[in-house]
């Protein structure tokens, strides 16, 4: 693969690369199509994390996935955060840059979590403005991900799938469709996950996420701490049928297992992606 190819995310399965795996990953260079990392883990001026990411980037396309831009916050975007993101983007030349349709700060206090926003015209205008500001500042298109949620707001006026579609429609950003998040929210709020997928225009979706949740008995929590559940694999199959084969990521962030377990999950997703390709051919 030429150096140029590595700045584009291929239509293959990648894994979320986290600190406990990065050395083994570099030593073994496993056969995955690409990797995604959390942008904020590489916001420092240098040091070991960035040095290792530079090495990874020599072998794989990299996607920079943010958890801290707080696109849905009533605060202005954090200019220092944007500056560090741009510095990293310019340095790594990632295939994708993404963050979430959620908020994580108010009045300068950060939750360092992905919190739900009421789906109103006010929120929609605000998220769109923040996405546009980010795209203008970075000089590139970003992807916006549907977040999972454990509550709904009584004053929401727009269904989530329509809100997500509108963000992409108004800003030109792509959609990072997290299949597990659709499933988690559908289960928590009692809507139809398949209908959600059908409501998203085909050409807007640039990336899928897959992960495992935690079932508390009353709520599904988006913990990224388990294998992908069967019902989410089924929904992934529906997504492949609707959107076609597109870059897919396996994420695992808590109770992180051996690298081999992630690669095995990636193998399952790749198998389904190939099956979809064979059907489509």
């Amino acid at each position: 693969m030429s150096a140029d190819d590595l700045s584009t995310i291929p239509v293959r399965v990648g894994i979320g690369l986290r600190a406990p795996h990065i050395r083994e990953f570099l030593d073994t260079l496993p056969d995955v199509g690409w990797v995604e990392v959390h942008s904020e883990n590489y916001f420092g001026d240098g040091g070991q994390p960035l040095a290792l990411l530079e090495q990874v980037r020599q072998h794989y396309p990299v996607s920079l996935h943010g958890v801290g831009l707080s696109l849905g916050s009533s605060d202005e975007l954090n200019t220092e955060h944007l500056r560090r993101l741009k510095r990293l983007v310019d340095h790594i030349t990632p295939g994708f840059v993404s963050d979430h349709i959620s908020w994580s700060s108010v009045g300068g206090r950060y939750f360092n979590d992905l919190l739900p926003i009421p789906y109103t015209e006010e929120s929609l205008n605000l998220v769109c403005r923040h996405v546009e500001q980010t795209q203008d500042y970075l000089g590139r298109r970003i992807l916006a991900e549907n977040a999972s949620s454990y509550l709904q707001f009584s004053h929401s006026t727009i269904p989530e799938w329509e809100f997500v579609e509108q963000v992409a429609n108004r800003t030109g950003c792509g959609i990072l469709l997290d299949i597990n998040n659709v499933y988690v929210s559908a289960s928590n709020h009692g809507f139809d996950a398949s209908a959600y997928l059908r409501a998203i225009p085909k050409e807007m979706v640039q990336e899928f996420h897959l992960a495992g949740y935690t079932d508390t008995g009353s709520l599904l929590l988006d913990t990224h701490g388990a294998p992908v559940f069967d019902a989410v694999w089924v929904l992934y199959g529906e997504a492949l049928a609707r959107f076609g084969a597109i870059p897919t990521l396996i994420e695992w962030d808590t109770d992180i297992p051996e690298l081999a377990v992630l690669l095995d999950e990636a193998g399952k997703a790749a198998h389904m992606m190939e099956a979809e390709r064979a059907l489509a051919a």
């Binding site: 420092g44 240098g46 108010v106 950060y110």
Partner: protein
Amino acid sequence: MPSLREVQERFRDAVFEAPHGTPDFIVPGRLTAEWRMAAYRGSVFGNLRSALRGVYPVTDRLVGEEFFDFAADRFIRDTLSPSGDVHQFGREFAEFLRAFPSAASLPYLPDVARLEWLMHEIHYVAELAPLDLAALAALLAEDHGDLGFSLNPACRLLASPYPIDLIWQANQSEIAEPEQIDLDSGTARLLVRRRAGALETQRLDAGSYALLEQLHAGALFSMALQAALAVQADFDAASFLLQQVQLGTLVAFHQSEREG
């Protein structure tokens, strides 16, 4: 309809303030609104606890999981996280522990935590190349003014009345029981650094510590040397300086403006 600002401020209060209020803009459905907010409270505190645990593994080991969680929850409630980069959270944990009555029986704990924060900080900074010795020698050969030096950004200075470097070292192994450490062995003056990717602590004598501390604070060499000699009459400045330049502790020098 509440504004987004109002929703977010009330959400924040429901997460961090005690007693927890439950905002009235949540659809209960088959679960109560309080139950749903509790899921977020658990998630926010859980994330921040695990971020703290990542920065402070030795502190965690010294106090045990249950106490660490207890202290962390109080800290999280009382301390604003300043950035969407969670690695910026926890800077004030050592000071929090110093003022935390439940931690008073471990007097060295705040300094161990401070050491862990400094290590965390230098994990993410650029390591500058060692100073150009030839240029320094050329400058010294001339009739030069006083010199100032900059500390490598991947270096930090820390002094403690307790042997926190030994405590830290003894708690690096998961299995081994920490050996007995004499807490009254005198002041530990440490140069904490990352070199070739690895974190290390180096013990300094009083003169060396004073010299580096003064240089780092912006003092010129002659003044820093006075400070060093004041605490250690036999301080050998020349060999120490050469050693620290070679080790990359001092990474830049600048000539003072000459008076008159």
